[in-house]
Structures are given as structure tokens and as C-alpha cells.
């Protein structure tokens, strides 16, 4: 029941918003639908806490602590982004960058995107997981090109083609996986595509086929995670799309794609122990290092933080690659705090570039004078993402680093180096944007920065104190991943 609500509400909302068009109330309806999704997700969480792991609807849906936690996070950030997008898109409309027709598309696709991500998280069927990931890409392509500028069209095209190819490779991986399991589980029904069934027999799968399947799955879904060297689409799509879309892409979609990779990794570890983990570690480190150096070359504020997302996804991938309860715990925590912090930063950065009238960082100056809330939001967000204590990012990075020191000492200096380079690059750029003089004028509509501070407050809390219930939950999920 709760499951039906979680998936049905955003889907229905997409339909309603498409019919409703852009009336006065559309942004509010968008917020309400997101709120309803969050409530449904909360009910689902309560249910899983009470009754444990559940398999629903002929085992097509599978809810365990690992994915229900991501469902809750997705619904929460979905709501705060909807709250943020209300004044943000109003200002964009005021400036003539979007019209009523495009706002209708925007609101409707936003909810469709949420529905696709939630389906990807909840399904037990690897085939449906693929379909949902592709649907998530398709629903955001037109959002990235919402402004119809040359640059945004180019970004959307790149996004479509690169992610399309990536996801086609993932489909080939899924077919190979099905092929490997078919002998054991039979081709009747869908048994050989159900993750729970595959998980039960993962030790007996043919290693050669699984190895090849995992390479395809990792490269395929990894493209959507933004892992180097297939990360090219990510900065463009983040920089050229509307800011709420950048926030959900960075905060949510990357997580969902990573979730798919991890589910596949759990299966692959059964027949090729250690290999899958090492591959994740390699890709993770490469992404983190590459992204931290690319950070230095950025002039656009949203591109800067898009590269920072690649860096953090690399760190998280590395953590899951190491495996073990502590590293997985840290990875899950980092997924949470990164998603909250990064979306908060995009909210602040979006309003900052609206105030300055440009996304170029040398045009954004003196935010504190114009609007202390935007200024502090950006500053605190940047400090949080850079892993300064007492924010939650520090806690998770600390755990990842100490685990790396114990299990894989060679990786520690590389990781530390990447973090240091990223710190210098981001701090050096954010500082002059926040402080200093300015000639820009304040915004016509007051920005909604409540979500920024709510997110940052949660991240701060997670750094100082993780509620026992949440910690227990993370531990359960970490043990599931193995």
C-alpha cells in the first residue's frame, strides 16, 4: 500500500501538472505532490522498521534498509527542491527565460523524474531497474534544454547520447547476467532477473560471464554516476539546465545510479570475489583525482560544483569498493551528506547567479552585501562540502580515510591529495564571491533559502551526532552490502 503511494503519487502528480498547465497554483501543486511523496516514503520507512525487509507484488519490489533509506532521502530532497524552485522559477519567468508552456513541461517532468528514480530504487527486477534508469534520463533531457539556448541544447544532446550509450551497455550487462543465471534459475517467469533470487545463488554463477557482465554494468551505470572517464556530460548538463534540475541531478540521480552499481557489485562479488571491489576502487580514485584537478579550470559556478560532485561520487565509489561494514557505513553516510550539502549549494549558487545576472564566477561578487542569507548559505555549504569539521562530510571522509589507511594504505595519499587540491580550488573561488564589493542589485522576489539552511543543519547534526536509530539503520544497510 505504502509502496503504491510512493510510486503512484509522483506519477499522478506528473499527469495532473501536465493537464493543469502553468496556472498560478502549479508550483504549489508541485510542492504538495512532493510533500505527499515524502509522507508516503515516511510511512514506508516506518513499515520497514517495524516488519523488516519486504517483498511485494510477486517479488517485483524489494524493500530493505539500504534502498528505503535512499527512498526517504530522495523524497526529502525532492520536496526541498520543489520549495526552492517555486521562487527561483518565478524569477526566471520574470526575466523572460521561461514561459508558461515550458513551466508546464518543467513541473510535469520534475514529478516524472521523481517517479522514475523511486521506481529504480524500489524494484527487485534488474530489467525494470534498467527501464527506470532510462526513463529518468529521458525525463530530464528536456529539462536540461529548458532554456533553449545553444549551450543548453548542446548540453542536453551530449547528456542524451552519452547516457543513452552508457545505459545501452548496462542493458547488455543485464542480458549477460540473465544469461548466466538462466541455467540455475530457469527461464520460466522472471526469476533470473530478480535481484533477491540472483543474490541467493550468486556463488554459483559462471565467473567468466559475470566478470564481463559486471564490466558492462559498471561502465553503463557508471556513466550516469559521472565516473571518469565518462563524466563529460555531467558538468554541461548541470551548468546549462535550470538550477533546481542541477540540484536533483547532483543530489539524487547520481545516488540512484550508484545504487544500481552497488546492487550489481553485490551480485558480482559472489562469483568473482575482490575483482568487482577493486574495479570500483580504481574508477573511484580516478574520478576523484581527475575532478579535483579539473576544479581549477572552472570559471562557471555551477560547473565548479558539478566537478565537485564527480569528485565526491568518486570518493563514495571508492568507499564501497573497499567494502566491509565500516567503509560501507561511511559510504552511505557520505551519500546522505553529499546529497544534502550539494543540493543546498546549488540552491544558494542558483540565487547567487540570479543576483549577479551571470554564472561566471568573476562576475559574482559581494554576496554578503546583497543578501546575507545567500552569501552565508554559499559559504557554509562550500565549507561543508570541503569536509571541514564539524560538518557530516568530515565524519564520513574521516571514516573512509582511516579505513583506507588500514586496508589499502597506498590509496590514502592519493585520496588526501585529491581532497587537498579540491579544497584549495573551491575555497579560493567561493571566498571572493561571498565577500567584497558589488554593483549588482537584490532580487525582485525574495529567495527561499530555508531549504539551504535546513539541509546544512542536518549535515551539521550528522557530523556531531548521528541519532542511534539512524546509525543502526546505516549499520544494517552496510551489512547488507557486505
Amino acid at each position: 500500500m505504502e509502496l503504491l503511494l510512493v510510486l503512484g503519487v509522483p506519477l499522478l502528480g506528473a499527469g495532473v501538472l501536465a493537464v493543469l498547465g502553468h496556472r498560478r497554483g502549479a508550483p504549489e501543486v508541485n510542492v504538495l505532490v512532493s510533500l505527499a511523496t515524502l509522507v508516503a516514503a515516511a510511512l514506508l520507512v516506518v513499515r520497514v522498521i517495524r516488519h523488516g525487509t519486504m517483498l511485494v507484488w510477486r517479488e517485483q519490489f524489494f524493500i530493505d534498509p539500504f534502498n528505503v533509506f535512499l527512498v526517504a532521502l530522495t523524497a526529502f530532497v525532492g520536496l526541498t527542491t520543489a520549495l526552492f524552485s517555486r521562487p527561483y522559477m518565478r524569477i526566471e519567468e520574470h526575466r523572460g527565460r521561461v514561459n508558461a508552456q515550458r513551466l508546464r513541461l518543467y513541473h510535469s517532468m520534475y514529478q516524472l523524474f521523481m517517479a522514475a528514480m523511486l521506481l529504480a530504487l524500489l524494484t527487485n527486477n534488474l530489467g525494470l531497474l534498467w527501464v527506470a534508469m532510462e526513463a529518468a534520463t529521458l525525463s530530464t533531457v528536456l529539462l536540461v534544454s529548458l532554456y533553449r539556448t545553444r549551450a543548453s541544447l548542446e548540453a542536453a544532446w551530449k547528456y542524451f547520447i552519452l547516457c543513452g550509450v552508457g545505459i545501452a551497455l548496462a542493458l547488455f550487462g543485464t542480458i549477460l547476467l540473465y544469461f548466466a543465471a538462466e541455467d540455475l534459475l530457469g527461464s520460466e517467469g522472471m526469476s533470473a532477473l530478480l535481484w533477491t533470487h540472483l543474490d541467493a545463488v550468486k556463488g554459483q554463477l559462471e565467473p567468466r560471464v559475470i566478470g564481463l557482465a559486471f564490466v558492462f554494468l559498471l561502465v553503463g551505470y557508471g556513466t550516469k554516476v559521472g565516473l571518469a572517464p565518462l563524466h563529460n556530460w555531467l558538468p554541461d548538463a548541470h551548468a546549462e539546465g535550470p538550477t533546481p534540475v542541477s540540484a536533483v541531478l547532483s543530489g539524487l540521480l547520481l545516488n540512484v545510479a550508484l545504487y544500481a552499481v552497488i546492487r550489481c557489485k553485490v551480485l558480482a562479488e559472489g562469483s568473482i570475489p575482490g575483482v568487482a571491489g577493486r574495479m570500483l576502487m580504481g574508477f573511484g580514485l580516478l574520478s576523484a583525482v581527475l575532478a579535483s584537478f579539473f576544479l581549477w579550470r572552472q570559471r562557471d559556478i555551477k560547473r565548479l560544483f558539478a566537478y565537485s560532485s564527480i569528485e565526491h561520487m568518486g570518493i563514495i565509489t571508492f568507499a564501497f569498493g573497499m567494502g566491509g561494514v565500516v567503509a560501507n557505513f561511511a559510504g552511505l553516510l557520505h551519500m546522505t551528506v553529499h546529497s544534502l550539502t550539494k543540493s543546498a549549494i546549488f540552491f544558494a549558487a542558483g540565487h547567487a547567479s540570479q543576483t549577479a545576472g551571470t554564472q561566471r564566477m568573476d562576475g559574482i561578487r559581494g554576496l554578503l552585501l546583497l543578501s546575507p542569507t545567500i552569501g552565508w548559505g554559499l559559504m557554509l555549504g562550500a565549507l561543508a562540502i570541503l569536509g571541514l569539521p564539524p560538518f557530516g562530510v568530515f565524519a564520513s571522509e574521516f571514516l573512509i580515510l582511516t579505513t583506507a589507511m588500514r586496508d589499502h594504505p597506498w590509496a590514502t595519499p592519493i585520496l588526501l591529495g585529491a581532497l587537498g587540491v579540491a579544497f584549495a580550488a573551491i575555497f579560493g573561488r567561493v571566498q571572493p564571491m561571498v565577500f567584497g564589493e558589488t554593483q549588482s542589485r537584490p532580487l525582485p522576489h525574495s529567495p527561499a533559502l530555508l531549504p539551504v539552511f535546513v539541509h546544512l543543519a542536518i549535515v551539521l547534526m550528522l557530523g556531531v551526532y548521528i541519532p542511534p536509530a539512524l546509525a543502526e539503520w546505516y549499520r544494517l544497510a552496510a551489512r547488507l552490502i557486505g
Partner: protein, 221 residues
Amino acid sequence: MPAPTLTAQLLNGFAAGLLLISFSMLSQRRTRALITLFAWQGAILFASTSLVAYSAGLRHLWYSAALTLVLKVFLLPFILLRLVRRLEAQWDTETLLNIPTTMLLGVGLVIFAFGLAQPISALATTITRNTLGIALAIILLAFLMMITRRKAVTQVVGFLAMENGLFFAATSATYGMPMVVELGIALDVLVGVLILGIFFFQIREQFESLDLHHLETLKED
């Protein structure tokens, strides 16, 4: 090794036909002819899927064969042809294309694909197992086509050809995926093409051409 049955021989024939079409797509410069080739590829895919469905007696494969016929032989080529007609791009030709080199690269890819699929085909129990290498080759050739072409429509045809290869892989290695998944994939492909249709018009409105070399300005600066 026992002599291959008629069904197996026919299937190998179809597989060879698919591969041949992939090569001709790789060397075809005209947009319109390319779409026709894509429709033919769909037709062969339909024939081979029906044959597998008939010989293995699997009902759900008949459904996916029907889906292939409707979607890949008629609907998608029709949508694409209409699009290029409305965009007045049907006689577009690609000038920057070195066919001999592309062909050589393609042959290399086919050898690579066969090498990769060899150990896996040996494990398959289906009558179609020899064709997994060809399926992989089709995917890689479509990939090559997407890399070497600069027109938006051709890239999309490449993308769809890749999907054909995936579908062929699914039938050749495993007698097809479960129906729900296949329907979902078909829906995604259809929606994808529709979205791209909208996209073509947007690109054209902005750049007055469907040439993708305009879309190379977003670089690191």
C-alpha cells in the same frame, strides 16, 4: 559436432544478414537510405525472432517478434522519415567520412567481438548460441557509427541500431527477456525517439542545421 539443423543454419544466415546491414549502414552517406537500411535490419530481426519462437515453441517470443515488427520495421522508420522530410534533411549527405578506414575499423571490431564472446557462447545451451558474437559485433559497429558521424539524425539511427543489436543479443543468448522488461525497453526507445524529434526542431531553430559540429562549443575554458 553434429551437423547444424536447418533452423540453426537459417538463424546463422539471418545473423550474417544483420551484420551485413550493419556494415552497409556504416558506409551509407545518405540519411534516407540509412533509415531504409534500419527498417530492413528490423525486418531481419523480426524474421529471426519468429524463427526462434517457432522452433523453441515459446509464446512470449512471438509477442516480442510482433513488437519488433510494429516498432522497428514500421513505426520508428516512419517517424524518422517524416521527421527528415519535415526538416528537409532527407537528401543530406555526410561529407567528412573516410569509408575505407571506417570499414577496416569495423572489421577489427567484429574480430574483437567474436573473441570476447567465444568463451561465453560455449556455455550457452540455446540453439542460437553461435550468434552472441554477431550481436556484440552489431552493438560495437553501431557504436562506431555514432562516433564517426556528425549529423544528428545519423547518430540517432546508430543509437537505434545499437538497440537492435541488444535485442538480438537477448534473443540469441537467452530466448529473450521477460515480457515486462521488453515492453519497458520498447516504451523507452519510442519515447526517446519522440523526445529526439522535438529536440531536432529545437536544434534546428537555434543552429539552422542539424550538423553537430555546431555543438562543440562547451569545452573546458
